[in-house]
Amino acid sequence: MEPTITFFSDLKINDLWFLAQAAWATLLISGVSITVGTILGIVFGWMLFEGRWATTLTLTPLLDIFRSVPLIIQLVLFYNFAPIIGLNLDPFLSGVVILSLYCASLVANVARGGIEAVGVPMRRAARSLGMSYWQDLRYVVLPIGGRAVFPSWVGVALGVMKDSALVSVLGYIELLKASQILITRTQEPLIILTIAGAFYFALSYPISRYAATLEKQWAS
């Protein structure tokens, strides 16, 4: 007796574990990219604020590129460009590099807005109290400006978290890629997509709500 062969199999407990691992992969790549991107973005934002013609000529158009080309194209481009200059990056690292730069290009504008939100009189007051330039940045601009733009930063970070789904084009198995694999095998798209969507929603909705409440509280 030959066993019957089927191409499709049911959804099993193992598959849920597979999805959970993929969800962790999503969290990992977005966590790393948002952290690196935010640090880079704050530096860029400061450069945009302080720099004169030199940054206007170099940094502004450079950051503009990351916002004007689809993320998916950036990913494919970088993944295929890295071997040309002799770098062998796996999908995770390529994804982190591009997502971080993308995040940084968005955070740079937010950070510049934050620095601009601190009034000139306030900064002069800090300097005339004897604070150095860096002390002024650290103890005056960071707390006040950071608070002013924190809600927009949350928006950017959540956007990057959602856009991390695109790293799947490079073959990195994150939540949506895993869902796609399972859908192909089990032919049960509705359940799997609902689980994946619920995960993103459960992560994004409370945080965006929290940021919105904070914005309201701080505005009043």
Binding site: S68, P70, I72, I73, L77, L166, S179, S208
Partner: protein, 220 residues
């Protein structure tokens, strides 16, 4: 280290078909934006003025569109509806997912715009004998339009960038066409570099056109 030979000729030979695909991208984005504006207006008005099931429907549409990845929404319109027996063409899938997304994001922008108009203006318009329709179309909407003009431009850019996801469901817009051509000649980097430039140019044209239009529209 740099032993890669760039071959640009096959790309330039296929430039006409890339530009044609770029027009498809633009077309989908424009349609998605128009549908998104219509549904976004309805959703915003429903969410502000009604209670009960319609309110919940509008709210869940808006929150789902804003809190899940665009790629997830695309998969849902592709695989999800396919499981329910509704099979759409790649064009319709991309258009539906983009419109769904745009409507959700624009609804929140419109809501902010409507809330910026004081209630007293509605009452003033009504007491001048205008009907509700006249009041909205002649007093409220023109002012809201001015407020949401900039977010609308951004949304148009987003729609163009997001349409690149069509590549993943086999839609031959700019990215999909590029991938198809690139896999034929295996000049992936060259093709995607040219495509990135085309996207950049499209985005710049949109932003420039919107700026020119704004000086015409908002002269007073």
């Amino acid at each position: 280290m740099f032993d890669y030979n760039f071959h640009w000729r096959p790309v330039f030979k296929n430039l006409p078909s890339l530009i044609e695909a770029g027009l498809t991208t633009l077309q989908v984005a424009v349609f998605a934006l128009i549908i998104g504006i219509v549904f976004g207006l309805v959703l915003a008005l429903v969410r502000m003025n009604l209670r009960g099931p319609l309110y919940w429907f509008a709210s869940s549409w808006i929150e789902l569109a804003r809190n899940t990845p665009a790629l997830f929404q695309l998969f849902f319109f592709g695989f999800g509806l396919g499981a329910l027996g509704i099979h759409l063409s790649p064009y319709t899938i991309v258009l539906a997912a983009l419109s769904f997304n745009c409507a959700g994001y624009l609804a929140e922008n419109f809501r902010g715009g409507f809330q910026a108009i004081p209630d007293t203006q509605i009452r003033a318009a009504r007491s001048l004998g205008m009907t509700a329709w006249q009041c909205y179309s002649r007093v409220i909407i023109p002012q809201v339009f001015r407020i949401v003009y900039h977010p609308l431009t951004n949304q148009m850019v987003w729609a163009v960038l997001m349409s690149s996801l069509g590549m993943l469901v086999g839609f031959r817009e700019l990215s999909g066409e590029t991938q198809a051509l690139a896999s034929r000649t295996y000049r992936i980097f060259e093709y995607f570099a040219v495509t990135a430039v085309i996207y950049f140019v499209i985005v710049k044209i949109i932003l420039g056109a919107s700026r020119i239009l704004a000086t015409r529209l908002f002269r007073y």
